[in-house]
């Protein structure tokens, strides 16, 4: 899948000698219209945009993303709305990769094949399924690949050496390294040095794979990890949405400012 938009994006950021910035927001937070506006605005500064399906029993998300998800569900967001947000975004920004992220039950209820087809139609570039680990995800990942959708494998500090090798071997263009034992948005409790050591172990397996680091990354910590191919920020952005709503300030402006600061730190 070496020609994928995701791969090309990393090629560019590497040539600029910086990590790619990946941002995560929950689709429909706080409304369908608003999340498209946020997406359009932050994509000027982010290299890859992740868009989450809100789910009401998320077993790996911390408080910030949970709050965003509940807000979106309360506002009536449906799976098809998520696809339509992604599709509308891609129509305007066909060169900006978009990755959808969610829990398996939603895909299961929607039907795997139908789901992938819909991804393809909306020009989705990649998929992350939090609770469908390797090797259980082999079939699904294969189906994605056939439709030129990157299935993104996750690796965590608990992943054993043998498993790590297999996962890298079965991965597509991008691998997501979870920085620490935590749900999303936890305080970074491991030193950046240690995180980058673990990161190099993955890189050593296959230098052509783009490895991004996520979990616990904020304006304060992002710089310390800038050696990585890419860095994901989610909870810090969701938190800004929550705060802006609370303070009745302009969500789009505030969130965009956060993303601007993030990219400045790693440029």
């Amino acid at each position: 899948m070496n020609n994928s938009l995701i791969h090309q994006t990393f090629k560019i950021t590497k040539s600029e000698n910086r990590p790619a910035l990946l941002t995560y927001i929950v689709a429909g937070d706080n409304t369908k219209k608003k999340s498209l506006e946020i997406l359009k605005s932050i994509s000027k500064y982010a290299d890859i945009c992740e868009l989450g399906f809100p789910h009401n029993t998320p077993i790996a998300d911390g408080g910030q993303i949970q709050t965003s998800a509940y807000r979106a569900i309360k506002n009536g967001i449906k799976i098809n709305d998520v696809f339509s947000i992604a599709g509308q975004f891609k129509k305007l920004n066909k060169n900006k990769p978009i990755i959808l992220m969610g829990y398996y039950n939603m895909i299961y209820q929607y039907d795997e094949n139908k789901f992938i087809k819909r991804c393809q139609k909306s020009q989705v570039d990649g998929l992350i399924v939090v609770d469908l680990p390797f090797p259980e995800n082999k079939n699904f990942a294969e189906k994605c690949k056939k439709k030129n959708i990157n299935f993104i494998q996750l690796i965590s500090p608990t992943t054993s050496r043998t498993r790590l090798k297999q996962i890298v071997k079965n991965s597509h263009d991008m691998i997501y390294y979870i920085s620490m034992l935590s749900t999303t948005g936890g305080k970074l409790k491991v030193s950046p040095k240690k995180i980058l050591e673990e990161y190099s172990k993955i890189k050593k397996q296959n230098l052509s794979k783009n490895v991004v680091i996520g979990f616990g990354i904020t304006e304060k910590t992002i710089k310390s990890l800038k050696k990585a191919d890419g860095l994901v920020v989610g909870s810090a952005i969701c938190k800004e949405i929550t705060n802006s709503i609370k303070k009745r300030q302009n969500i789009v402006t505030n969130v965009t400012n956060v993303v601007k600061k993030l990219i400045k730190e790693i440029k």
Binding site: Y108, P133, L181
Partner: protein
């Protein structure tokens, strides 16, 4: 889809952890892969280890207090006419409910794995209370995750947890009941799996937790089998084993030794929580045609909408107030070995009233659902039919609800 004979049901899954190819599995974040693999290896080793079995049996006998009694409810049977009603009084177990079996085994596993911290979820508060007891007994630090709504309605059990030195972590997300407590507990484990052991309070969750829990509660049916043969000289020809089903841990424990018998000889009846009579909400995924979905790491029948969002549930019984159910019960339903039905809040309350009027028994709201079914079917059955209800919990924890709904406790 077929059941195998002479193989415990908990072991009838394929190599991916699925029963009947579609129920169960381990839908977990990558971080939990290793801890779950470690736990699986350890458990499979321990259950074959004679020393460990000896230890388990020692604590079952001397700490939990087995066997729990098996008694005929003469007055209730006489009142209803028809089938004989018997009860397996599991609420006699230390702590007052079957949850002590799973809690004790998890504490022993936690010790064997060299971990000092143990966490668990709870709905009715029994799983939490028992885990806090077992943690105290075995010198482990314990945290219990519990929905804020349940903390309010099951105060006696919360008091007990605190007395045992456990920390109760209130969960305010979602419906603030068991489903959210389990999610929060799993999230906590994701963040602390290096030094903490997690106990899932029922036969739900990723495959290994279904197995450990089922292996633990199976003690109930081992005892009952011996008691039945002792009482009747041989296995009676017409038995009905009636059990409430929330996650399904007591029902599996009550049935496991009897699954190989024919349905004609031993019928297995699971009773789910139908919720308030006039409410659309319930907690009965098996008997009210829920679709298969993935919840808390396993595929099972789940109360959910078309989009895969988990439904809120409603039941007077906090212990049954859960949108999913054990994959092994889904398997028993689809193979038609067990029959599942539901009782409403009102039916459970009248059953409680009737049972306590006639018998010296004080079943909690969970087994009151099972009694409701027994009361419904017994009059139509022959005198030689033995209806056995698993009275798996004591109503002390329900005193506030009972006072409010029935005017007295």
């Amino acid at each position: 889809m077929k059941l195998k004979k002479n193989v415990p049901l908990i072991d009838q899954h394929d190599r991916h952890g699925f029963w009947g190819k579609k129920f169960g599995g381990s839908f977990i974040p990558e971080t939990l892969k290793k801890p779950i693999e470690d736990l699986t290896i350890k458990f499979e080793k321990l259950r074959k280890d004679k020393k460990f079995i000896k230890k388990r049996d020692f604590y079952f006998q001397n700490y939990i207090g087995s066997p729990t009694s098996f008694v005929k409810l003469e007055n209730l049977s006489g009142h209803l006419g028809g089938a004989q009603i018997w009860a397996k009084v599991v609420s006699e177990a230390n702590g007052g409910a079957h949850k002590i079996y799973n809690a004790t085994v998890h504490a022993l596993i936690c010790k064997a794995m060299g971990k000092k911290y143990i966490v668990g979820d709870t709905g009715a508060g029994y799983a939490g209370k028992m885990l806090s007891m077992a943690a105290k007994k075995f010198g482990l630090k314990c945290k219990i995750f519990m929905g804020a709504k349940d903390i309010k309605r099951q105060k006696p059990n919360c008091d007990a947890m605190r007395r045992n030195g456990a920390e109760i972590v209130p969960v305010y997300s979602g419906s603030q009941t068991l489903v959210d407590a389990v999610s929060e507990c799993m999230r906590y484990w994701v963040s602390n799996c290096d030094n903490t052991h997690m106990c899932v309070g029922s036969t739900v969750g990723p495959n290994i937790f279904v197995k450990i829990c089922g292996w633990s509660t199976a003690q109930i049916s081992r005892e009952l089998k011996i008691q039945l043969i002792k009482k009747f000289k041989k296995m009676p020809k017409k038995i009905k084993l009636i059990n409430c089903v929330g996650g399904g841990s007591s029902a599996y424990g009550f049935w496991s030794e009897f699954i190989d018998y024919s349905k004609k000889q031993i019928e297995l009846i699971g009773v789910e929580a139908g919720g308030p009579k006039n409410s659309k909400l319930h907690a009965a995924p098996l008997s009210r045609d829920a679709k298969i979905g993935v919840l808390h790491g396993a595929a099972s029948y789940v109360c959910q909408n078309n989009e895969g969002q988990i439904h809120e549930t409603e039941s007077i019984s906090a212990g049954l107030d859960y949108p999913g159910v054990s994959p092994i019960h889904c398997f028993l339903k689809d193979t038609k070995r067990a029959r599942y039905t539901f009782a409403t809040d009102e039916e459970a309350l009248s059953a409680y009233k009737l049972v306590t009027k006639f018998e010296k028994l004080n079943p909690s709201l969970e087994p009151s659902h099972a009694f409701a079914e027994a009361i419904k079917i017994a009059p139509k059955l022959s005198k030689d039919t033995i209806c056995i209800v698993n009275s798996c919990g004591d109503a002390k924890k329900d005193r506030d609800i009972l006072k409010q709904r029935l005017g007295k406790y």
